[in-house]
Symmetry: C2
Subunit: 278 residues, 2 copies
């Protein structure tokens, strides 16, 4: 008997999950779910998914797993709707970039114990299912943020699922996840957006590889990122404070022509970056 | 008769100039000059340069062109030494990342009219001649910052030289160059150094492509970058101010959960970045 997996939201992440499943799970049938069925038509026609349903008109779906790949603010509302259509043993997971708020919202629902929060560290500045890639998760870290409500068996099943797509599993409490990701992902996004906005179109010819790389992620979808940033506002505000303090140290070192301090600040960045390679 | 070109400083940039010359100017003999002759031995043995001299012990060098590829603070002192060894018609140029201070220092010397400041927008977070590449300048913009002292013929010869290495030439006044590069290159470097330093070694596994790209240039040589930043301190301080203002706007939008403002800030970054591609 073939397995049944439902993907809610078939954009960059949902599309990549679908393609990875096609590659790694030949025996699995895929259901695409979205606010409107029409947006799923292209994925359906290409055979990326086997069925397509709108969130508002779900039939009974005997799926063993549901993966929410929607924007952050829609994860829990969407899963709440899907929960009405699936059996009581169905496992829920997601790909959300922040975890505390989502898990807090989910905790009000009876299916919260079957929802294991996940964050595969993979993505792109592009969006939409046409940018999706079947190898997006290959050898990437997927952070699971299980709660006390999650039975160990559910966490295990969830880990095995993400491993089957090529991920290496790491576990973090949701609040620790959000605090770290504020510095490794959300702050860099803000920095990229600022650096990009400070250069006007006529000056683009005077940019090189450095600006190109430091600003690439500024091309990300503003609607998606607005949701991510707002859902992790306290941790990001703390990260912004750390960033602003160090920015002020650079300003001071320049104002005072303090070579030693400037060297030290640059060296700390170099040491922190060097071990990762280019 | 073959041409003679001297390269002062044979690191990443000087080595790349040499390799590009080998590729594009078969009839040219190359002289490497460095503070100590011993550091030029490897390049000499590999045939990257034809002769090697220490700055302190220069013979008469009938070079038609001298390219200073030293750290910023050493450009003018090195050229002043080389000027004693070359004919009165020799053209000087450089690869310095900032231009106003260098040209101001050079203006005290009689050879200032033969020194055409250049900044090829090409580089790497790596340093040293072993990281040099013969195609580093292919299709890159090279900014020339001629002064009123430079005869048109000297500027023209300099432009033709950089074009012959594959560069597209743009002209800017030195102060405009420095103000723009503060935002397109120096500020991104500071941002990368800060983002890198805010993530500790144990947290590296929780980084993905975004952090990797936004911090790549933090691996640059702190000694070189300290010199670049200090030589453009006023413009960079102004750029830091613009950056800090926008950082504060992000903080405020997050603190006030101001979706519209956050969206606008992210959109401005996206619009500014999108036309450059990934």
């Amino acid at each position: 008997m073939s397995k049944l997996i439902a993907i809610v939201g078939v954009g960059l992440m949902g599309g990549s999950v679908a393609k990875a499943l096609r590659r790694c799970h030949n025996d699995t049938q895929l259901i695409g779910i979205a606010p409107s069925r029409s947006e799923l038509e292209p994925a359906l026609e290409l055979g990326l998914i086997d069925w397509a349903f709108s969130l508002a008109q779900l039939p009974h779906i005997p799926a063993e797993l549901v993966i929410a790949c929607t924007p952050i603010s829609e994860i829990v509302p969407a899963l709440a709707q899907v929960a009405e259509a699936v059996p009581a043993h169905t496992l829920f997971t997601d790909v959300g970039s922040t975890k505390q708020e989502v898990l807090e919202q989910a905790s009000r629902y009876p299916w919260a114990e079957r929802f294991v929060g996940a964050h595969p560290l993979a993505g792109s500045e592009k969006s939409g299912w046409s940018a999706s890639q079947g190898d997006l998760f290959d050898n990437r870290v997927c952070i699971l943020t299980p709660t006390k409500q999650n039975p160990e068996s559910m966490v295990q099943r969830c880990a095995e699922f993400w491993q089957s797509l090529g991920c290496r599993i790491e576990y973090l409490p949701a609040d620790v996840h959000d605090e770290i990701l504020a510095r490794t992902s959300h702050l860099p996004h803000i920095g990229a957006a600022i650096l990009a906005a400070l250069v006007n179109p006529k000056e683009k010819i005077f940019t090189a590889g450095g600006w190109r790389d430091t600003t690439r992620i500024a091309s990300g979808n503003p609607q998606l990122w607005q949701g991510i940033l707002l859902s992790n506002a306290p941790a990001i505000q703390q990260a912004l404070k750390l960033f602003a303090e160090r920015l002020e140290e650079f300003r001071l070192a320049l104002a005072q022509a303090d070579e030693a301090r400037l060297h030290q600040l640059l060296l700390e960045g170099k040491v922190a970056r060097d071990d990762l390679g280019s």
